[in-house]
């Protein structure tokens, strides 16, 4: 028997799902199907190849390199941006002179277009006349080429991501910190417990759900934020800063090998689904049983 509540629910969901299915799910399913065929070229039709595109990955050195790089990149950017965001939030969640400016400064990277700021960072990294090099020369150090050397390029790109994200995540922590009751703080002060103990025993558990929420976003962003790679390194030198999404892009829109790009996309979605959905349900439980 169909209940009235069900009808309401489905009716409420219908408009959103029309859009979701038209512009996300159907195209995504099409991509999945395409990944089982060869790329059609004007002169050669697509042929069914089953898992051929997926097998190709195993012997594709650029793909393997991109996987390793993405792993490092994710680890570095997630850890650093969350820790920094928390530190920033702890710094600015009480008011003092200049706190508004400080918040502003942490937050501005969020509203600046990544493509444009990438150009600014490129100038910072430029050997010779770049800002960092000017400072290095001032202190008598040798010139360095951060974006142009294979051992530093990936971290040069990661630094931009951290800079861009930390301020955004700070907002979430800031919101969470305001919920720590002032009475607890006073009680702790009377008991004479140290700032660190209070943070570890009271603050941290209270902001745990936020940390989970933020880390979900950080994981997704670690794989999604690649705009600056286009400007800064194009995945080079010699694929040293090649990330999975950038490789998908290159394969799909530079090489026009859409089938292989589709297969790579499926790998990316699988990774994100495994990590992301796992965290979602973990986070969800916390909210439920609070």
């Amino acid at each position: 028997m169909v209940k009235r509540e069900w009808i309401y629910a489905w009716a409420l969901l219908l408009p959103a799902f029309v859009f979701l299915i038209t512009f996300t799910h159907l195209p995504a399913v099409q991509t999945l199907i395409n990944s089982l065929y060869t790329t059609p070229k004007g002169r050669r039709a697509a042929m069914f190849t089953g898992l051929g595109n997926y097998q190709q990955m195993l012997s594709d050195p650029v793909f393997l390199k991109a996987m390793v790089n993405s792993g490092i990149y994710a680890l570095v950017t997630i850890l650093a941006s969350i820790l920094l965001a928390l530190a920033m939030a702890l710094l600015v969640h009480r008011s003092f002179r200049g706190v508004g400016l400080m918040r502003m400064s942490f937050f501005t990277p969020t509203v600046l277009p990544l493509i444009a700021v990438a150009n600014i960072w490129l100038f910072f990294y430029a050997p010779g006349f770049g800002l960092i090099d000017q400072i290095r020369v001032f202190f008598g150090l040798a010139s360095a080429n951060y974006a142009g050397q294979p051992d530093t390029a990936l971290y040069a790109v990661a630094a931009v991501t951290i800079w861009k994200e930390a301020g955004f995540f700070m907002i979430f922590f800031l919101a969470a910190l305001q919920t720590v009751p002032e009475t607890l703080r006073e009680a702790a002060a009377i008991e004479g417990c140290s700032r660190w103990t209070f943070f570890r025993r009271v603050t941290l558990p209270l902001i745990m759900p936020t940390t989970l929420f933020v880390s979900v976003n950080a994981v997704i962003n670690a794989f999604r934020l690649v705009d600056h790679v286009f400007v800064m390194t194009k995945g080079g030198p010699d694929n040293a800063s090649m990330l999975l999404l950038y490789y998908i892009f290159e394969t799909g829109f530079r090489y026009w090998d859409t089938a292989y790009a589709g297969a790579l996309t499926m790998v990316l979605i699988a990774i994100l689904a495994a990590v992301g959905i796992g965290q979602f349900f973990l986070a969800d439980k916390r909210v439920h049983y609070r």
């Binding site: 294979p150 290159e250 026009w256």
Partner: protein, 424 residues
Amino acid sequence: MKLRNVFFASSALVALASGASALDLEFYFPVAVGGAAADTIQSLTEEYMSLNEGVNIEAIYTGSYADTTTKAITAVRGGNAPQLIISLSTDMFTFIDEDMIVAWDDFVTEDEQKDWIGGFYSAFMANSQTEGKTWGIPFQRSTPVLYWNKEAFAAAGLNPDQGPANWAEMVEMGKALTVKDDAGNVTQWGVHIPSSGFPSWLWTGVVAGNAGKLADQSGTKVSFNSDEAVGALEALVALSTTDEVMAPGILDWGGTPKAFFDGQAAMIWTTTGNLTNVRTNAPFDFGVGFLPGLTQNGAPTGGGNFYLIKGSDQAELQGAADFVKWVTAPEQAAKWTIATGYVAPRPDVWETETMKAYTADFPQALVARDQLEFAVPELSTFEGPKVTQTLNSALESAITGQASPRDALDGAQAAAEAILKPYF
């Protein structure tokens, strides 16, 4: 939802019908040299429309070359192709492979075949023709040249009016021009050859200067690891290792003019597309010369061609072709060259009064034209972006010292052959 679609579809139809003139054409163009170029294209298009009643050309700015290719292929696959685009000359094989362009031969008379298509510099036609047909019409074409800082030359005791004639001289002068401070850190490098993103372009020039050739005109064969090519890469790597006249690592392309203006590098290699930029912004006198070769003169061509896109009827494509004939004619091409710094693609353009006046005032602009005699086509093959990326990665690994030049190029050759296998 559905009703709304009908509404939008029908209003689009109405708009089409009411605005319809005899010929409506769409034309995608990229801009790779700053905003002024976009204005010039727009004004040329408007001029053509005012001369030709009933022709309506919508010139659509489409970002960089890469963005333009992306947009064009997306539009073709989406069934909404423009008639005309400008894109990289090296995209020819990709477009043929996508079966999205038509050859120009069907849209020109026999006389035009000879006088118009035959009137372009052969260096530019080299990667505009294959399979006995003409697929691209050269328009915003460039070639790299060497710029030198005359003040720095004088300060180093060199003749400021004489650039390096060959590679050995460039290294020699580079040593004199490399300046270190008391702590031993370099404050001015002798030479700066950018290597970010697409190092293969300038390196093609080094190979040509060593009497080597990277690909044939069929687009299916490459020779990345010939002795000439390996020698060219060894020479390039040596600049920052044994010769110590160039900063180590990958040098950014966009920052190259900046390094020149700020005195970080006394000689730079970059495109003629930078002429106007250098002329406006260099705070010192500068010279322009051929790329110094290892054994002979040589330089690649670069830049964009006009392509006719499949999917429109014959009359529309003919209309687009007629516009291209007009816009590449001497007077129009001269305007374009002067506004942007691109190399005029036909000898007769340089004969116009406008160009003569321009070059009399700015003789450096002639260097690119004179170098065309020694020019080779930019690397262009089927699966072009993939093959070129393979080569770029190999060059980067050699430049950053990850692999020896020979190993890097052997690897690139093997990878490229594997990619090109289906095309033999």
